[in-house]
């Protein structure tokens, strides 16, 4: 309050937070997520509804919906999980009993809705099309908590396009499409590359600390293992890998590599071997090859990074291939253990440079963009193998 008083005195203009989204004017860009705010009236005694940018209703369907059995909520550390199951009064009761209250509130109303069938989506959109108190529509094709929560439409590009164009044809209102993140299934891709001729599945595990990106954990590795018979090569680009090797071994890793920059290889490589995994030592582009040479004895394979780890699609750093030559030479001439030690190369390998890597002495080639950037995995793998 004192801030405000000062502002008035000194005539400082308060900033405008107003935004315009698809023709809906919002006083400020704050609006509740659908389902957290009921039909608006529930919070009227506690909050001035005209202070928020817009009111987004609970998801509505053509007919009333019972929702899931209880329990529907569970608390987590500083959060909660819910599976309400889209319980709602149905579009007719909404228009009859809930909308009159919202009409009196000077805040745009965005109606979230869903359907079991394409027709239901169209029908609900049509019933809302001519109501002046509805500022916009939010098309729900994302609810994961019920079978027909629209996620069927949200995970199939064709169906998604179909339902959006149908709704668009029934209503001129601004239309928000609520997408689901549950769209890529890594296990399907794992099988596809297996069928296309890959020999090993290489999985990058990033933690957001050791490298500036976050990827997957043991659960996803376990899921891949279930769907693929190929050896799983898990590359731990993480801090303190010693804490996680048990978990990844248990999740089904056949090969596990850890960075010379992240841990004590002399300790960790034997530990990984004890877990019945092939143990790999990884060396980043900026690290001198001497750093890894003392540990070659403990490893089953050496992974030479030819780009800085963290993101796919980078160009190869050719100087790194010289490391491969040095390591190869060491393995042939000076190694003291009597077992095969392979060299793996990862980063920027394409059809045009795969030969250089092999010539330098690489036994295993890791390819990301070269395969997944192409439409035909099989053709891409065959080309690389040639």
């Amino acid at each position: 309050m004192t801030d405000l008083a000062m502002n008035n005195k000194t005539n400082v203009k308060r900033p405008s937070l107003a935004v315009n989204i698809a023709g809906i004017h919002l006083k400020n860009p704050v609006m509740p997520a659908s389902g957290t705010f009921g039909y608006g009236e529930e919070y009227a005694p506690y909050l001035d509804l005209e202070r928020i940018g817009a009111i987004v209703t609970k998801g509505l369907s053509l007919r009333p919906k019972a929702g899931n059995p209880t329990p529907r909520i569970a608390e987590t550390i500083s959060g909660m999980l819910n599976a309400i199951g889209l319980q709602n009064v149905g579009i007719d009761d909404f228009i009859k009993f809930k909308l009159p209250f919202l009409r009196e509130v000077n805040t745009p109303v965005i109606v979230n809705f869903f359907g079991n069938t394409l027709d239901e989506y169209g029908e609900v959109a049509a019933r809302l099309a001519d109501l002046p108190e509805v500022a916009g529509l939010e098309l729900n094709i994302s609810c994961p908590n019920v079978k027909q929560g629209g996620i069927v439409f949200g995970t199939d590009p064709k169906a998604a396009a179909e339902v959006v164009s149908l709704v668009r044809s029934r209503s001129q209102k601004p239309l928000i499409v609520k997408l689901t993140p549950n769209v890529t299934d890594i296990t399907v891709i794992a099988r596809a590359v297996e069928e296309a001729g890959a020999d090993i599945l290489h999985v990058d595990v990033m933690d957001g600390h050791f490298v500036p990106n976050i990827t997957i954990g043991p659960d996803v590795v376990r899921a891949i293992k279930k769907y693929s018979t190929l050896p799983l090569d898990v590359h731990l680009m993480i801090d303190n890998p010693d804490r996680y090797i048990d978990k990844f071994a248990e999740a089904g890793a056949d090969m596990m590599s850890v960075h010379v920059e992240a841990c004590d290889l002399e300790k960790l490589l034997p530990l990984i071997r004890k877990l019945k995994c092939k143990a790999g030592a990884v060396i980043n582009p900026e690290t001198r090859v001497e750093a890894v040479i003392p540990f070659i004895e403990y490893a089953d394979y050496i992974l030479v990074m030819t780009v800085n780890p963290g993101f796919g699609g980078q160009a190869i750093m050719p100087a790194c291939l010289e490391k491969v030559v040095r390591i190869r030479k060491y393995i042939y001439e000076e190694r003291k253990v009597n077992r095969a030690i392979l060299i793996e190369v990862d980063g920027g390998i394409k059809t045009s440079n795969v030969k250089d890597a092999v010539k330098a002495g690489a036994d295993i080639i890791v390819a990301g963009s070269a395969i997944f950037g192409s439409k035909d995995y099989k053709a891409a793998i065959e080309k690389l193998k040639k």
Binding site: G35, T36, F37, G38, E42, Y43, P45, Y46, K58, P64, K65, A66, G67, P69, T70, P71, R72, I73, E75, I77, S78, G79, M80, N82, I84, Q87
Partner: protein
């Protein structure tokens, strides 16, 4: 009444594992009705995120700190330590900052003046019955039947007796009052006072037994339910129970927080009130 930030005035263990907390709440006595509850944020930091629902035990005034100051109005809640939230609460002290949303929900209907009133409380379920008794004693004879596993679960008996309420205690192990379920006492009382009205709060198995007895004797019954809640205001639909006539085609889910927590027994589908094992004291954690 809205959400307000306030402080703890006192927080005492009154029986093994049971606590009484007084919270500064000016003006609360005027708005809080018997049977209503508050959503209580147990501390200003996280976790936990969710507020916890607690029945209002009573409201009252403490003398002012010094002359010229108004008396301090408080609200009182009772709780049993069962989970993370109540464990944190048990460590709160005078002056600690807390947040209260309420009063919330629909409370008790006071029934017909002059009719005998029987209150049935199981363990911590006794909480919402105190303010109810305060009102009922003005025009009716009030009996309180208290049940618990053992003597530690029987709390606040003298507070009720001071109101002029006739109390009967039953414990499952017989360590206080008569041995057995409190519903056996109710069975006898219903024979003796066939025109009574019954008000009950406690664990679900107790409520179900009370409902069967009252239905058989055709005695009006109001129950106060407990449920795991997230919002407390009827928005999230996380705390629903099945209403009478519920079916998949004709859903009759009722929000415990908004349409309850007090329901007339006939509004509920007693055959399958909830899908879980039944709400319990633990849910109020």
């Amino acid at each position: 009444m809205k959400n307000f930030k306030t402080i703890v005035l006192s927080n005492q263990e009154i029986s093994s594992g049971y606590y009484r907390m007084r919270i500064l709440a000016p003006g609360f006595g005027k708005v809080g009705k018997p049977g209503q509850f508050i959503m209580f944020r147990v501390q200003t930091s996280l976790p936990p995120l969710l507020r916890r629902p607690f029945g209002i035990f009573r409201t009252g005034f403490l003398p002012a700190d010094c002359e010229g100051q108004p008396p301090k109005e408080y609200l009182e809640i009772l709780y049993k330590v069962v989970g993370r939230g109540t464990t944190i609460m048990s460590g709160l002290h005078e002056g600690d900052r807390v947040e209260v949303l309420g009063p919330l929900g629909r409370g008790f209907d006071l029934g017909v003046a002059g009719n005998d009133k029987i209150l049935v409380g199981g363990g911590i379920g006794l909480v919402p019955l105190y303010m109810l008794a305060q009102e009922l004693v003005k025009s009716s004879r009030v009996r309180l039947l208290i049940g618990g596993k053992r003597r530690d679960d029987i709390i606040m008996v003298t507070e009720f007796e001071r109101l002029g309420v006739n109390t009967h205690i039953a414990t499952e192990d017989g360590s206080l009052g008569e041995e057995g379920f409190v519903t056996r006492v109710l069975e006898r009382k219903l024979q003796k006072y066939p025109r009574a009205e019954v008000f009950a709060c406690g664990p679900m198995p107790m409520l179900e037994a009370v409902q069967r007895l009252c239905a058989a004797e055709n005695v009006p019954l109001q129950v106060s339910l407990e449920a795991l809640m997230a919002c407390g205001v009827g928005a999230c639909l996380g705390c629903v129970v099945k209403g009478a006539g519920h079916s998949e085609q004709n859903p009759q889910y009722l929000c415990t927080c908004k349409e309850g927590p007090v329901f007339r027994a006939e509004r509920l589908d007693w055959s399958k009130l909830t899908d879980e094992e039944g709400t319990c004291e633990g849910c109020k954690s």
